[in-house]
């Protein structure tokens, strides 16, 4: 066995090009997932047991089953129903592997994000919420001005982890023929039969993407949690 650097150099541009699809998948599903996840997380905290039960069942299902099953359920499974095949959305959305992957990832990641949101809201110091009540903020004002911004700062590290998990999960899109990084790597592998080199190159690209994501989040975290590093200037009393 000899390590074939030439193959890596030859196919690297092709891999890089397909990694754009991977980044697109991760970005879109994380944005949609965040919106959906925050709504779910808030519903999960509702007092009404009936409203609480639905997000609970949703979160339980999507966190308890493999992502692969969820992708297959959406991409292959929905075609079983005639009304899906006859609907207007069938051609542009539900028959496209790309959109099916995004839907599956969004549903999956939003279940995890909902739990993160719930945890973050739970760990906001009680005093801050009481202070908001004291000033006389309405429930909605309190949510918009105190709860959500505070929870966002708290959940950011956990959310960055979730984005990395989504990046890793996005490789599963290859199983429903989305031409992403893993799919391209597998295709090149079948052509050249150099599994070690090609998967090594693909792995390096994934690592770089995840490092960039982590680095970006760290910068963002520094700026959003600025108040934590702020030390009030010491008062110097002139003699």
């Amino acid at each position: 066995m000899s390590w074939n650097w030439q193959a890596i150099i030859t196919y690297f541009p092709e891999l890089l090009k397909s990694s754009v699809t991977t980044i697109e998948l991760v970005f879109l599903s994380c944005v949609f997932g965040l919106i959906f996840g925050v709504i779910l997380g808030l519903l999960r905290l509702a007092k009404n047991p009936l409203i609480k039960a639905l997000p609970f069942a949703y979160i339980f299902f999507f966190r308890g089953t493999p992502l692969l099953v969820q992708i297959f359920l959406i991409y292959y499974g929905l075609g079983q129903f005639d009304f899906m095949q006859n609907s207007a959305l069938w051609d542009p959305v539900f028959s496209q592997p790309y959109w099916c992957a995004i839907i599956a990832f969004t549903l999956n990641t939003s279940a995890y994000i909902a739990e993160i949101v719930r945890g973050a809201i739970g760990s906001i110091p009680k005093g801050e919420l009481e202070a908001a009540d004291t000033i006389g903020m309405s429930h909605r004002q309190k949510l918009r001005r105190i709860v959500l911004p505070r929870a966002f700062g708290i959940m950011l590290p956990a959310y960055s982890n979730e984005v990395i998990f989504m990046l890793k999960g996005s490789a599963l899109a290859a199983t429903i023929t989305v031409v992403d990084l893993t799919y391209t790597a597998k295709g090149i592998m079948a052509k050249t039969y150099l599994p070690l080199e090609i998967y090594f190159a693909a792995g390096v690209i994934y690592l770089i993407i995840s490092w960039v994501i982590l680095f970006g989040f760290r910068l963002f975290e520094r700026s959003i949690n600025k108040h934590k590093r702020y030390t009030p200037p010491t008062l110097v009393i002139p003699k």
């Binding site: 066995m1 339980f60 299902f61 308890g64 089953t65 493999p66 992502l67 692969l68 099953v69 969820q70 297959f72 359920l73 292959y76 499974g77 929905l78 075609g79 079983q80 129903f81 990395i164 990046l167 890793k168 999960g169 996005s170 490789a171 599963l172 290859a174 199983t175 893993t182 790597a185 597998k186 592998m189 599994p195 070690l196 998967y199 090594f200 693909a202 792995g203 994934y206 690592l207 995840s210 490092w211």
Partner: protein, 240 residues
């Protein structure tokens, strides 16, 4: 009830393979995790670096890529080794064991971090008092640190085991005849994808519930202090 047009028993058969795969990978993964944590906390610079590289790489690349790498790459490596010994035939590596390799390496990387944090949680005084009793480092680790560490590590490990269970589905892509594989086969012959993938999802959900419950029991077993406290409070309540 569980017939599914005759495919029920086949799915159950696949479920057993999934459970086997998960448990064998768990055992190997725990070993990797313990080794990794020991390496990370050791005084030797090289071991620390190796463990760092291991956890960084494994946690940054997708599970599916890992499975492909081990399955396709593993056969190339083994063929290369066999060539050194003068064997030029075709070599197939087992789906099951390449699945175990991939899953346990991935589990091990995350478990390394869990174990490391759990060991660091244990006060330094425990090590020192064991040393003053004349225990060797390994004895200290085995008798003093490990039993206490489980209490801290178990919740994290339970979550990792759930992730492991869900990742077993990936091994069906390289052709292991597990639950996912048989569901796909049932789908191709009955043309009812939603039914069978939903059935598979529900089976995975059942396994998740079983694992969650048994992890709760393990946490209870591993924490004698909590058990004692419970007994104390309940007996007090009985007296009054």
């Amino acid at each position: 009830m569980f017939d599914l047009q005759g495919y029920g028993p086949l799915l159950l058969q696949g479920t057993i393979v999934t459970i086997k795969l998960a448990i064998v990978s768990l055992l190997f993964g725990l070993t990797f995790g313990l080794l990794g944590a020991t390496a990370k906390l050791s005084n030797i610079w090289l071991l620390r670096k190796i463990a760092d590289v291991y956890t960084t790489i494994v946690r940054g690349i997708p599970e599916l890529l890992m499975v492909f790498f081990i399955y396709f790459g593993g056969s190339v490596i083994i063929a290369a080794i066999a060539e050194q010994f003068g064997y030029f035939g075709r070599i197939d590596i087992s789906h099951f064991w390449s699945g175990v390799a991939a899953l346990s390496i991935m589990f091990g990387a995350y478990a390394t971090e869990v174990f490391r944090m759990a060991i660091e949680e244990i006060p330094q005084g425990q090590w020192e008092s064991a040393q003053s009793l004349g225990m060797r480092p390994f004895q200290t680790f085995w008798r003093i640190i490990l039993p206490q560490m489980w209490v801290v590590a178990l919740p994290g490990l339970g979550n990792l085991f759930l992730v492991l269970l869900k990742d077993t589905a990936l091994v069906s892509i390289i052709g292991l005849k597990d639950l996912m594989y048989y569901s796909t086969r049932a789908v191709t012959s009955t043309q009812q994808p939603f039914t069978f993938y939903l059935a598979a999802a529900l089976i995975y959900l059942c396994l998740t519930i079983v694992i969650t419950i048994s992890m709760g029991w393990c946490e209870w077993r591993a924490n004698p202090a909590a058990r004692y406290a419970k007994r104390l409070t309940s007996s007090k309540r009985g007296q009054s």
